[in-house]
Symmetry: C2
Subunit: 158 residues, 2 copies
DNA sequence: GATCGAAATTTCAGGCATGAAGTAATTATG
DNA sequence: CATAATTACTTCATGCCTGAAATTTCGATC
């Protein structure tokens, strides 16, 4: 089976598959690279871990608080995982659990005043770290990259 | 300070920073999405975890074996981590440790015959899974994506 | 050829992560 | 309104992951 320009369609598809695999492997490495850099900066500068930071960032953006399930969906991690991280944040005084009037199974997790103060500073730093790490990415590339990532994510399974 | 088209340079930079942050957040979510899908397929189909798969994939591509440090650099994970994963692979009979003649501190990790047989099958599946998950990514997008990922990775720190 | 710094690896403590199983409260269904 | 299915969350076992400290070996310098 030949296309108009004479290339073999099966060959072309196989090549595309390998190119997609290359993209996946590069995405993995890039994410690990950035994560390891951020982890180190958070650790040495703020005695903060990446998972805790991620949770606090979600909470800072939701002043009314979030339910555990909302948190775990937003961060794309398991329920049990969020339980542990929030436990530690609460015992460090950075977040608070608050009962929900209408549903005794659930509660809202809210960032504490102390957490908000610390988080606002870290968020500003975080933004500038990303800007530095992504310095070689132009506005156009960023837009295209975002759209590629959305294409990947919107491929639902199950 | 104004650019030719009248937009404010500082505003533009801040916008670019936020766009880069959006790209980063989308990358994180896309990678978590794909990883969780792959993890589930490896688990249910082959009783295999993602970290073990990553190590075996690296070993399959290096028939002469790899030193622990080479492995950990290639996968971008810590040394101690690789020790544990290789331990489990060896006790499952999927990999072997082999002494290095010239250096008694080091050794090579090599994939076993059984590991290679299993891995060849999984690798073919893996390629088709990625092709499926990345179905909405065109050849041009893949190329652009790869180049963006390389731009991010080549930003060295420290 | 003794010593000293660097390199390859392991060990360990602590935290992160999943999936499965458990508890309790809510909602839907007959 | 009884009960069955669902939802919100926790607990647990197991494995992954890091960073720091320890061990052993290597290589260079004096």
């Amino acid at each position: 089976m030949l296309t108009q320009d004479g290339t073999d369609l099966v060959e072309t598809e196989a090549g595309l598959g390998k190119q997609r695999l290359r993209l996946w492997l590069q995405m993995l490495k890039a994410v690990r690279h950035v994560e390891s850099d951020l982890r180190e900066r958070l650790r040495s500068g703020y005695d903060m871990t990446l998972p805790r930071f991620d949770v606090l960032a979600a909470l800072l953006a939701a002043p009314e608080g979030l339910k555990m399930t909302e948190l775990s969906q937003q961060l794309m991690v398991s329920n049990g995982n969020v339980t542990g991280i929030v436990d530690r944040l609460v015992s460090d005084g950075l977040a608070e659990r608050e009962t929900v009037e209408s549903d005794r199974r659930a509660f809202r997790v809210r960032i504490s005043e102390q957490g908000a103060i610390q988080m606002r500073e870290m968020a500003a730093q975080h933004l500038s770290w990303i800007d530095e790490l992504f310095a070689d990415v132009s506005e156009a590339d960023a837009a295209r990259g975002i759209s590629i990532m959305l294409d990947i994510r919107h491929k639902v399974h199950r």
